[in-house]
């Protein structure tokens, strides 16, 4: 009995490792994409705005699962092939990047016009205005939104199991196939491990929210 459990541990840990890998990589690319698309949608060039809008609407308007399937199963027919991990990270980043770009855009738009005007009056360049005046203020407004999206993203990672990636969910399902009698224990373990992975994100998000509501950050 104990032995069965001990035999399960490496599989679950392996799965957890992959889940964390997908999570961290996706978080990084999500926020890079968020800034590119969020700023792009505010560009003074119409073409850039249009491209960003199309991207954002497509990825917010379709399900993450369908996006995963497209990138992993469909694109190879067009000669574009990714490993399951790469496909998972790309799909997650593009999907959550679309949501996060709206957080970026909203925060930037919420900075009073007077800030930009004061920066113009001091003869700062458009780039300096953005980097020194607008983004430092907007970033604080973005943080609570980023915290919540990061938790959402964390939960979304379980979908990568459906493109054959051996993440935590995938490993649990595999273990269960050979140990049906232990279904409950396996899924208790799954729940606990996911929660442990999510915990730092949850704490961080709460903390950011509290600071934002105190108006300090």
């Amino acid at each position: 009995m104990i032995n069965t459990y001990i035999e399960m541990v490496p599989a679950l840990l392996n799965g957890a490792k992959i889940t964390i890998e997908v999570l961290v990589l996706s978080l990084i690319f999500t926020y890079i994409i968020a800034f590119i698309a969020g700023l792009g949608k505010l560009s003074k060039f119409r073409a850039i705005r249009v491209v960003c809008t199309i991207y954002i609407e497509i990825f917010r308007g379709t399900s993450l699962l369908v996006q995963l399937f497209w990138i992993y199963f469909v694109l190879p027919f067009f000669g574009i092939e990714f490993s399951a991990l790469t496909a998972g990270v790309i799909a997650m980043s593009l999907c959550y990047g679309a949501y996060a770009s709206e957080v970026v855009r909203g925060a930037i738009l919420s900075i009073p016009k007077g800030q930009t005007e004061a920066a113009i009056a001091l003869n700062m360049t458009p780039f300096q205005r953005m980097m020194k005046i607008i983004i430092p203020q907007a970033f604080k407004i973005m943080l609570p939104g980023f915290g919540n999206l990061s938790i959402e993203l964390m939960k979304g990672t379980s979908l990568v199991s459906l493109i054959t990636l051996g993440d935590l969910t995938y490993q649990s399902l595999t273990l269960r196939n050979t140990n049906v009698a232990h279904t409950t224990e396996i899924f208790v373990a799954l729940l606990v491990i996911y929660f442990i992975i999510a915990l730092p994100l949850i704490v961080l998000a709460r903390w950011l929210e509290r600071r934002a509501s105190l108006g300090r950050v």
């Binding site: 009073p112 007077g114 800030q115 005007e117 004061a118 113009i120 009056a121 001091l122 003869n123 700062m124 360049t125 458009p126 300096q128 020194k132 005046i133 430092p136 203020q137 604080k140």
Partner: protein, 272 residues
């Protein structure tokens, strides 16, 4: 009759207006269908202090925002030292200027806003050094020295490390004045710098502006509702109504002997 008055005025100051620092030439500004500035001709000489008065909505703010490049004229040309602000000469033709040209021209202009618009995420000192370092390319040390001198001038040398939110409105506006002065503009624009302040804080800000005005060199365009102050500080008063300059001249003349009916009724309303 109004035209005659303007002629008279220019005649009197012929020497100064020969080479104006700022010149509006037939400038108009419309927001959609609404014409806010109409065919405006308006000059400011180097070092001259001009106060702009007029009823709400007469276009005073818009007039100076055009000069700060915060609003683009619908037609007409604004010149600084004879060089077009919003335009560039390409093969003898005036075309719309690019950001690079605006950047070059803007260095000569500074502005103090009604709502202060300090950068809330920076200390008082940082508010005053950010532009000198990034725009003028000064070293941080050099910029801090200059900023400290300006902050001392406005009486805030002991607030260097405070954040704007920790200051009173009057103190914030004085920081904003120091921040603009650090850039050493040739002309400084003030848009009702005291109208967002509690009455008891108005005096400290006016005193600072008065002191700067007395130093001379820098031209100033002051939009204000403080009539006594305008009379004190300004070399010339400009009265706007309906997007036009209706009357302008020597402060004493304007206040004691207004010619146009609109100025007369405006002054009556201000006094009551």
């Amino acid at each position: 009759m109004l035209a005659v008055r303007t002629e008279e005025f220019i005649g009197k100051n012929a020497v100064e207006t020969a080479n104006p620092l700022v010149a509006y030439k037939k400038v108009s500004k419309a927001f959609g269908e609404v014409k806010v500035i109409r065919d405006l001709d308006f000059n400011v000489s180097p070092g001259e202090k001009v106060a702009i008065i007029g009823p709400s909505g007469s276009g005073k703010t818009t007039l100076i925002r055009l000069l700060m490049t915060l609003e683009e004229p619908t037609s007409g040309v604004i010149e600084i030292n004879g060089e077009p602000l919003w335009h560039k000469e390409v093969k003898g033709k005036l075309v719309k200027a690019d950001e690079k040209h605006l950047h070059k021209m803007r260095g000569q202009i500074g502005m103090v806003f009604q709502q202060f618009n300090l950068f809330p995420h920076m200390t008082v000192l940082r508010n005053c050094t950010e532009a000198p370092v990034n725009v003028l390319g000064m070293s941080r040390k050099e910029a801090e020295e200059r900023a400290k001198a300006m902050l001392a001038k406005v009486g805030l040398e002991n607030k260097l490390d405070s954040y704007p939110a920790q200051l009173s409105g009057g103190q914030q506006q004085r920081v904003a004045i120091a921040r603009a002065l650090v850039m050493r503009p040739k002309v400084m624009l003030f848009d009702e710098p005291t109208s967002a302040l509690d009455p008891e804080l108005v005096g400290e800000v006016l005193d600072v502006i008065r002191e700067i005005a007395e130093e001379g060199e820098m031209a100033m365009i002051l939009v204000t509702h403080e009539m006594e102050f305008a009379k004190d500080v300004a070399d010339r008063i400009v009265f706007t109504d309906g997007g036009k300059i209706v009357e302008q001249g020597d402060p004493k003349e304007i206040f004691e002997n207004p010619k146009s009916e609109r100025l007369q009724s405006f002054l009556k309303r201000m006094r009551s």
